[in-house]
């Protein structure tokens, strides 16, 4: 268990950490997140005393870290940095066994560790153990970076934006990998990131920081449901909506730039409007913008007389929904009938917009991928 008790850090006049307190349970995957300069990396580095706090205490399993020898402390805590930092003068095997060697493990035990570690990430020993970091891709290097942190089986592993410098594909495969390792090895992991997506997919608990304070500490689901303030909400951004599809309404998906025509207009004007706007049907409204019905190009064709008014031809059988209606109902209707659009009305019966199959696809894509 990692405990922060009123930990404070100042640089000159600037307070980087302002009396922060929290606990991380054993085996938990805790993610520190927040805007840059919020103190998340500083918090991480106070755990292995790369940064010494000016006030307060950090306890690991009840022991105040301030009284443990720094160097000894760090050997018991795995550490992965963003820029990977594999030693370029050492082979993969030598890099992995840095900490075991510092702990004076014998050669056989070190060899065994290298074999086990490489096997864990499916990198064959024969192929990789004697490579130098520069001979591997960034993703492979950071895999070794993670293995180096795990090699001496520390109960706690600190990761400072470990995947920040990797391309999205590699990044997500390493995220899967770290989750798998975590499940298997039950480490307590403290992970710094500025990427909410990463935080949501990895964390058991997210610690959101702002200006040296903890704004919110909660499991991802809880944070999505009840973000503590606007900053957290902004950080969660698109994930809030995506996380809770039941909250989506017709208003979230409708298209609002709809071509409407007044019911008293003549057919000639309506046809001209259709041609100008490049549509095959119009929404008919009264003088107060209230919805009355729809008029399609087929409806106009069916009438022989040019003297017909819009009001005589319009169809009223189109499905209508309210803006507050569940989006799912609109979708079900669109998908189950031949209709290519449905109407969405404001509470006062005025036209709000329409939902087409295309707008569903577009809106879904936006929700999912931003």
């Amino acid at each position: 268990m990692i405990q922060f008790e009123n930990v404070t850090k100042r640089y000159g006049d600037a307070t980087v950490l302002d009396k922060i307190s929290f606990n991380i349970e054993p085996g938990q995957f805790a993610v520190l997140i927040g805007p840059s300069g919020c103190g998340k990396t500083t918090t991480l580095k106070t755990i292995n005393r790369l940064i010494e706090p000016d006030g307060g205490r950090v306890l690991i399993d009840g022991d105040d870290t301030a009284v443990i020898n720094r160097v000894q402390l760090r050997r018991r805590i795995g550490y992965v940095i963003q820029q990977i930092g594999l030693f370029p003068n050492m082979t993969v095997a030598q890099n992995i066994t840095v900490v075991p060697k510092l702990l004076k493990y014998d050669k056989e035990r070190c060899d065994k560790i290298v074999h086990e570690m490489l096997e864990m990430v499916d990198m064959p020993y024969e192929q990789y153990a004697h490579k130098y970091p520069t001979e591997m891709s960034g993703g492979q290097q950071q895999r070794i970076g993670v293995l180096r942190a795990l090699a001496a089986s520390p109960p706690i592993v600190l990761m400072d934006e470990p995947f920040g410098a990797l391309d999205p594909m590699t990044r997500s495969s390493l995220q899967d990998e770290i989750l798998r390792l975590q499940k298997k090895l039950h480490k307590t992991i403290v992970f710094v990131t500025h990427d909410m997506e990463e935080a949501l997919s990895l964390a058991d608990v997210i610690i959101f920081m702002e200006d040296g304070h903890i704004t919110q500490m909660a499991p991802p689901e809880e944070m999505l449901k009840n973000p503590a303030n606007e900053t957290v909400k902004n950080f969660l951004g698109k994930h809030i909506a995506a996380a809770d599809p039941s909250a989506l309404t017709a208003a979230d998906f409708m298209k609002t730039n709809v071509v409407t025509v007044d019911s008293k207009k003549g057919l000639r004007a309506s046809t001209a409007l259709m041609m100008r706007s490049n549509v095959d049907s119009l929404i008919v409204t009264d003088e107060n913008d209230r919805y009355i019905g729809t008029l399609s190009v087929e409806d106009i064709k069916s009438c022989g007389s040019p003297d017909c008014k819009v009001i005589d031809l319009l169809k009223t059988d189109r499905e209508t929904f309210r803006t507050t209606d569940d989006a799912k109902r609109c979708f079900d209707m669109l998908l189950s009938t031949k209709a290519n659009y449905v109407i969405v009305l404001n509470p006062d019966d005025t036209l709000a917009g329409i939902i087409t199959k295309t707008s569903i696809a577009k809106a879904l894509a936006e929700r999912l991928w931003g």
Binding site: N48, L50, V71, Q72, L73, R74, R75, R76, Y79, I81, Q83, I84, G85, L86, F87, P88, N89, M90, T91, V98, V99, L102, Y132, P133, T134, E135, R148, L158
Partner: protein, 208 residues
């Protein structure tokens, strides 16, 4: 007829070079490491040292000669100090140029400062340090010619004699072996350079 004395002087010359470069290397490496530990002081000390570096060797040997007299120690002290400069500078630059991420990773792994120095910083700085050694060795071969100025032998003897009795072949008898010696030692150090550069950073070095 100069055969024997040529061999003897090459031997003396080589001895001066090897002894002074060894002392210079130990001195330069140690001071370079110490200065890299205290960047605050080195900002003051390094410029002062480079001023000393600009004092002509001939002046320095002359001054030492006044105090110590005509003994090999005079030459060796002077040459060691001159050999020290490039090694010291390269050691300092090599260590301080080691990327911070490696130092941070090492510290985070639980290495003590001494372990960081010997396991990470020095190995990564080694190519630069050996570069300094190479420079020092080649300079020292030519500076050792000055030993003859105070009558202490070496290949400079032929050169000074040649100048005195106005015989070019005599000058060349000293100059050519000195040049060959410099080239040979340079090649030897290049081989050493290859040996001490870890395979993982060899490519990087080439592209620099």
């Amino acid at each position: 007829m100069y055969g024997m004395s040529l061999l003897r002087n090459i031997g003396i010359h080589l001895m001066y070079v090897l002894v002074s470069v060894t002392f210079g290397f130990i001195l330069g490496l140690t001071l370079g490491i110490l200065l890299s530990r205290a960047p605050k002081y080195s900002k003051i000390i390094l410029p002062i040292l480079s001023v000393f570096n600009t004092i002509p060797g001939i002046v320095f040997i002359g001054i030492l000669f006044l105090y110590l007299g005509m003994v090999p120690m005079t030459v060796i002290i002077a040459l060691s100090i001159y050999a020290m400069f490039p090694i010291l500078k390269n050691t300092y630059v090599g260590i301080t140029n080691v990327e911070q991420r490696y130092v941070e990773a090492a510290r985070g792994c639980g290495m003590s400062n001494r372990q960081i120095l010997f396991r990470v910083e020095l190995p990564l700085a080694m190519p630069t340090i050996i570069g300094g050694l190479r420079m020092a060795t080649i300079y020292t071969v030519s500076w050792t010619v000055l030993a003859a100025m105070i009558g202490l032998g070496g290949l400079g003897e032929f050169i000074y004699q040649g100048i005195n009795i106005n015989r070019n072949d005599m000058i060349l008898l000293g100059a050519i072996p000195a040049a060959v010696l410099a080239i040979l030692l340079g090649v030897l150090i290049d081989l050493l350079q290859r040996k001490v550069t870890p395979r993982g950073i060899r490519k990087e070095e080439k592209s620099r």
